[in-house]
Symmetry: C2
Subunit: 421 residues, 2 copies
């Protein structure tokens, strides 16, 4: 079964927002064993939405369309679907009632335009709205189907899971398709894309010769390193999982210790796991990264078990007064080490990590943008530091500094014994 | 002139990364006065890339294709373009030389697969590679054109600006098209999408009746509030600018003080401007947001003029020890106010802003997730606080807390006189 994704919104074409829904939906469809070969983006224009829907239905068995279901005059996805279905729109009194009740419960008067959201193409089934005001729609077109969902990401994800996935599964079952596509990503840090490609070349050739299942692909992810993606097709989730595990072992055998994580395991998750295993807490001192390391760390569930906090010492005086760094230049190895020790002391942490340097665009203390010094102190060891030269603009230097610093922590922790699990 | 955007990469379809290049290219094309009606995403499959290219060329005068130019076996955009052009690929010795020189200059051995990047469809013109190893391509197809660019964002943006935009401008000039599409976004905080729609309904109707130029559209941007987008078509940039200014005045007349910024002016930029106008510095104490407010503030160019730093007091002891908050519960108005005062003192700042509360998923001190207390202290005023109840999951609560807190600062600063400009 093939399902395409169509995102509606002139703001997407004009680049005012990026289409993150497409990525999320693509992942969900793959997990459900549905092929998705094309995604499209189209503006708020009736003829072009109709054309995009017809193009998708000609190539696939269904389409998930997102956006254009709101209350305003440029929300015309309902009209476009009705045209493709060749049916009129009718107002659904139940949906209208729910919209009115929602406004009443908030003690607010309902702008009349909200009732546009109660219009349903004849023959379509609404998916009840829960987090927003617009319902979704399941619209049969011959033996095929259009699913319409709101463009607001958290409304979309809830409604897809509740209203679309069960219908998709019914269609998959009745089509006799029971295949599963699954993939696993091995995240690496420290090798170039082509060097990784060379290491894997022999394995790729062997897989191609054997029919391309599993298959391997490399993906340069900038500040997240290079990913190796393993994709398998199997008859059921259990076989898929076994194939993935076997291929992961093959890849690890040639790629080695550069792999720091699997799938959603980011560098910060790897660091979190190692800190927990060693019963250690972490405190930060951040200068050029301005809190970016802390942001990434607190996004890890359960971070409060090992994360103490951060002193974002953007002004030099903060380094001297709060962290006990000797007054003087701050882009030095001595300052980075003093910051790490100061962070561990001030925050009551076992491990202290500090970043100082020059994000740019201007020089600082005679150092070029991209100069970054990472200071680190581990329990029972003297502080150490690492001098880095990072490429790119201000934002890229910051992001590279964050992952480079966390990778240093990861490698340093690996030399300390785990406390036993 | 119409140009479509095609992103190539199975990892985009599978949702392993979001297509941010499409958004950036869409914006650049609009600014250049080029219509872009459809964007597509397709996987690393030769037949489907060829189909997507042909579909785009049938509807438009050109296509910008991104991704699939790397050195590995799944990088097949070059092959697909050659098939669409119906020409063979030939190796370009100059490009090959540059790739070899790049590796030599880094003292690294070149994996042979890198020379795949020196293959060029006959009749195409390479765009010299500068930041990466893959060159771009300008490929004429009859009177139309395919531009191929690398998928790595910072390589793409540099190469588009240097190698594609000049060629596009030549084509625009020779097609006699001199029109410009321009848009401006007014950012609002504090009104629902439908309430904004009602306020603007009369103006929208009047514009529609007058031919739809300018046009207005609303865009719910979640934690960034609701945006009002004004779009104009004009003969030249000057007229476009005048039309945008006139329409902005019309919109402001009905929307009023809820507008906090224009175009790229985020909430943090608005706060930055107001601090600079008042010669005030800012210091933070962040608990549940874990450095997120600091991250947003240091992304503002020139932040060091007014941003002192942040104490990310994730552990309660850090609030007590570093910020001087009395030991005891930390999700209270008294604690938030003490944190704000403590941040201003510890960081040597004029204005202190503090956030404490519960991001979730678990309760804290008997408070439900979404409970957030913002503390604020301004020069010469006693500290104050605001209790918020925010919806959504952990990440959404954090993000909503950040913009709500910054909006409080913005509104509070508005009551303090500017120092004169």
């Amino acid at each position: 079964m093939k399902v395409e994704v169509l995102a509606v919104g002139t703001e997407l074409l004009l680049g005012q927002i990026a289409d993150t829904n497409g990525a999320w939906l693509g992942e969900q469809l793959a997990l459900a064993g549905v092929d998705s070969h094309f995604h499209q983006v189209v503006g708020d224009n009736l003829d072009r939405i109709v054309l995009a829907l017809r193009t998708a239905l000609a190539r696939a068995d269904g389409v998930v369309v997102t956006g254009g279901l709101g209350p305003t005059h440029d929300d015309i996805t309902r009209e476009a679907i009705a045209e493709v279905m060749q049916v009129p729109l009718r107002r659904d009194p139940e949906i209208a009632g729910r919209i009115e009740a929602l406004f009443a419960s908030r003690g607010r008067e309902m702008p009349a335009s909200n009732l546009r959201q109660a219009e349903v193409p004849q023959g379509a089934t609404p998916i009840e709205q829960r987090t927003g005001t617009a319902p979704g729609l399941v619209c049969p077109v011959g033996g095929k189907v259009i699913y319409a969902l709101p463009g607001v990401p958290y409304e979309l994800t809830e409604m897809f899971t509740r209203g679309v996935l069960p219908d998709l599964r019914r269609r998959l079952a009745s089509s006799g398709s029971t295949g599963v596509i699954a993939s696993r990503v091995l995240r690496t840090w420290g090798l170039s894309e082509s060097a990784l490609g060379e290491r894997l070349a022999e394995r790729v050739a062997a897989l191609d010769e054997a029919g391309g299942n599993p298959s391997l692909a490399l993906q340069a992810s900038g500040i997240e390193g290079i990913k190796v993606r393993i994709t398998v097709k199997a008859t059921d989730p259990q076989s898929a999982s076994a194939m993935l595990a076997a291929e992961e072992a093959e890849v690890r055998a040639v790629v080695g210790a550069e792999v720091f994580g699997v799938d959603a395991e980011t560098m910060e998750l790897a660091v979190s796991r190692m800190l927990l295993e060693r019963h250690l807490t972490l405190g930060l001192a951040e200068s050029l990264t301005g809190g970016l390391v802390a942001c990434r760390l607190v996004a890890v569930p359960g971070a409060s078990a090992w994360f103490r906090g951060s002193v974002v010492s953007y002004a030099p005086e903060v380094k001297w007064n709060l962290l006990g760094v000797p007054a003087g230049p701050v882009v030095t190895e001595a300052a980075a080490e003093a910051m790490a020790v100061g962070a561990a002391n001030a925050l009551g942490a076992d491990v202290g990590l500090a970043l100082t340097g020059v994000a740019g665009p201007d020089e600082l203390e005679g150092h070029a943008p991209g100069t970054v010094i990472v200071g680190l102190v581990l329990p029972g060891e003297p502080p150490s530091s690492r001098h880095l030269r990072l490429p790119g603009d201000r934002e890229r230097v910051r992001q590279m500094a964050v992952i480079s610093a966390l990778d240093l922590v990861r490698r340093a922790l690996a030399t300390q014994p785990a406390a036993g699990s």
